[in-house]
């Protein structure tokens, strides 16, 4: 690696930098190595967890019903841990180091601690996987007491969480270094602010995890005799659901980053976007209460205030981002001269670039499927229609997979040439990958939500109740939904496999990015350097975005009231 500069002498270590030929940013070698390590391990867990997910989907497909019950619950536990925790949080560590050391042009704070955090996370993730695959810890992602897993299951999660916490503090330390050394002026870039939001939510999440997982570990080894199940649920969900809010913040930061890098898009109003992130920092974690809406012993005041994200303030934040990012794209495209009609800017967007198409799918699936269903599910009365049904995994497959995973996949297509400095291989496969994966995940989400609306319970091995003492018949449509869910699951797996193959081949066997290749196929679009800057767009008229936002709001209102109508039919009051 070409070494262009040394860190200031007062630094704790001598940081080595290279200058990125595409962005002009100084790239700290330690940060770059950590981004690579975290991203590679993340993709490994995505591949493993995704494979387990396929087996689960094939078991839920009534005509296939692949696995016996014990293997179904075992692999459902492993699937949840691998893709909901390990893939996502390893990748988020890469995002934190990218958004701090790289975008702020500075050295990484305490790289040895960052490596210690990485090793703890890796060891923890492997230990938890071993515990699950040994068959003594099929307790699902939630591990509700009094179900008890093997002690090393909890220990693995604790080690993983400690490692992630170290990563968060390295991120905050890097912000301090950047400010002290004056590597940026004014405010940090919006993408970095989004990463700050993710890191803050991560600290709350991990602290809550420590509060509940350490006693649970001690209970599993016999030092504590009893853990109250309801107390466990309240505290556990402060970790379990908040961990998904880290994803939301990171994915929104990535949406801003990709819009900036590919189109030179700046937020419509940086101040408003930062306020939207502030709503996340303060209130996004509260939605953990979704999961406790039917629990006794907790007041409606607590339930309604918390599930509504403090009376919808964090939802307002999401809607601001949902308008600001397409608006920023439209403004940048119109500046480029794509001003015909309401949607020329969108038609002539770089749809062949998987980073762009992945981002658009991510925004669409997250907003229309995950966002709307989340608010409906978080309404205390409506929640009774779908509480603990397959509607819940349908919702979070839209948010965590359609939203977060697709956003992470999209930015990986930019990280490979910029950080790994390799050409993307199998370009046609890469171009199609977000479409295949996006359609598959949208299908999984819709069909699970459909089955859940018909009452199919989540985490159920056999919806036909073939060996149950008392039989129960779901509507035939529910079985059709589960069949279509299986087909969509296969499609999503193909899309996931396409991603893993393209990225593994590119990282390990791809051609190095030569100056000629960079000149021929630049990774960043015109104006892409705005990703490392603060500032707002000034374009006044955005008719395309106004139409898209209106469509979203109409869909939101219609679906909300359709569910009230449905509730009145299944729970008549007169």
């Amino acid at each position: 690696m070409a070494v262009d500069a040394q860190a200031p002498a007062r630094g704790f270590y001598e940081a080595k930098f290279r200058t990125c030929p595409e962005t002009g940013l100084k790239v700290c070698a330690q940060a770059e190595a950590l981004i690579k390590a975290n991203a590679v391990v993340a993709v490994v867990f995505l591949a493993v967890g995704g494979f387990f997910g396929l087996l689960v989907a094939l078991t839920r497909w009534p005509a296939v019903h692949l696995l016996p019950a014990d293997w179904f619950y075992l692999l459902l536990t492993a699937h949840g841990a691998d893709v909901l925790l390990f893939w996502i949080i390893f990748f988020e560590m890469a995002v934190l180091y990218f958004a701090s050391a790289i975008l702020l042009n500075c050295r990484l704070a305490a790289p040895k601690f960052a490596w210690l955090g990485f090793i703890l996370m890796l060891v923890g993730a492997i230990v938890a996987n071993v515990a699950v695959l040994q068959g003594e810890s099929s307790v699902m992602f939630t591990s509700y007491v009094p179900m008890q897993a093997a002690p090393h299951f909890y220990l693995g999660l604790i080690l993983f969480a400690v490692g992630a916490l170290i990563g968060c503090f390295v991120f905050f330390g890097t912000l301090v270094i950047a400010k002290e050394e004056g590597t940026y002026q004014g405010s940090i870039p919006l993408v970095t602010f989004g990463a700050v939001t993710a890191a803050i939510i991560a600290v709350f999440t991990i602290a809550s995890g420590a509060i509940i997982l350490i006693p649970t570990f001690l209970w599993s080894v016999g030092y504590i005799s009893h853990i109250d199940p309801l107390m466990y649920k309240v505290v556990w969900w402060a970790m379990g659901h908040s961990s998904q809010q880290i994803n939301v913040s990171a994915q929104v930061a990535i949406w801003y980053a990709i819009a900036a890098m590919l189109l030179g898009a700046k937020p419509l109003s940086e101040k408003v976007s930062r306020m939207a992130f502030l709503m996340y920092i303060l209130f996004l974690q509260l939605a953990s209460a979704h999961h406790l809406l039917v629990e006794p012993g907790i007041s409606s005041e607590w339930k309604i205030f918390n599930t509504s994200y403090a009376l919808y303030l964090a939802v307002l934040g999401s809607m601001i981002h949902g308008m600001s990012i397409p608006g920023a794209m439209e403004a940048a495209q119109r500046k480029r001269g794509l001003t015909n009609g309401a949607f020329e800017w969108l038609r002539k967007a770089p749809w062949g670039n998987p980073a762009f198409s992945g981002t658009v799918f991510s925004i669409g699936i997250f907003g229309f499927l995950g966002g709307i269903s989340g608010v409906v599910m978080g309404t205390e009365q409506l929640n009774l229609i779908m509480h603990n049904t397959l509607y819940v995994p349908g919702h979070f497959h839209a948010t965590v997979v359609g939203g977060t995973t697709l956003a992470f996949m999209a930015i990986t297509y930019l990280l490979v040439p910029l950080i790994f400095r390799k050409e993307i291989m199998l370009k046609k496969v890469a171009q199609w990958q977000p479409y295949v994966f996006g359609i598959g995940i949208a299908g999984i989400s819709l069909f699970m939500m459909g089955a859940g609306t018909l009452g199919v319970s989540r985490r159920h091995w056999d919806i036909g109740f073939s060996d149950a003492a008392m039989s129960f018949d779901y509507p035939a449509m529910a079985f059709a939904m589960m069949t279509m869910n299986g087909i969509a699951g296969v499609l999503a797996t193909v899309g996931g496999l396409m991603f893993v193959i393209v990225i593994v081949l590119s990282v390990f066997f791809g051609k190095p990015r030569t100056p000629e290749a960079i000149a021929a196929t630049p990774t960043l679009g015109a104006g892409g350097e705005v990703v490392a800057q603060a500032g707002s767009e000034t374009h006044p008229k955005l008719p395309g975005t106004i139409i898209l936002v209106a469509v979203f709001l109409v869909a939101f209102v219609l679906y909300y009231y359709v569910n009230w109508k449905y509730l009145s039919e299944i729970w008549p009051l007169s």
């Binding site: 905050f172 912000l175 940026y184 002026q185 004014g186 405010s187 940090i188 602010f193 700050v196 939001t197 890191a199 803050i200 939510i201 600290v203 709350f204 602290a207 809550s208 109250d228 309801l230 107390m231 309240v234 505290v235 402060a238 908040s242 930062r274 502030l278 920092i281 303060l282 209130f283 974690q285 509260l286 953990s288 209460a289 406790l292 006794p296 012993g297 907790i298 007041s299 607590w302 205030f305 918390n306 403090a310 490392a532 800057q533 603060a534 500032g535 707002s536």
Partner: protein, 56 residues
Amino acid sequence: MSEQSTGSADQQDERVPAMQRLLDNPFLLLFMGVATPAALYLIWGVMELSQVPLAQ
């Protein structure tokens, strides 16, 4: 790098608004981001559960 850096000397001397100072302080945000859900979700929730009478 930022819009502020292109401003005149007068603008640079201008007092930074309180909300801007808040948003530029990651450690204050960290405190608020941990304390708010801790109070509204965790402490409030645990207090309610602690008032549930034990079964006899």
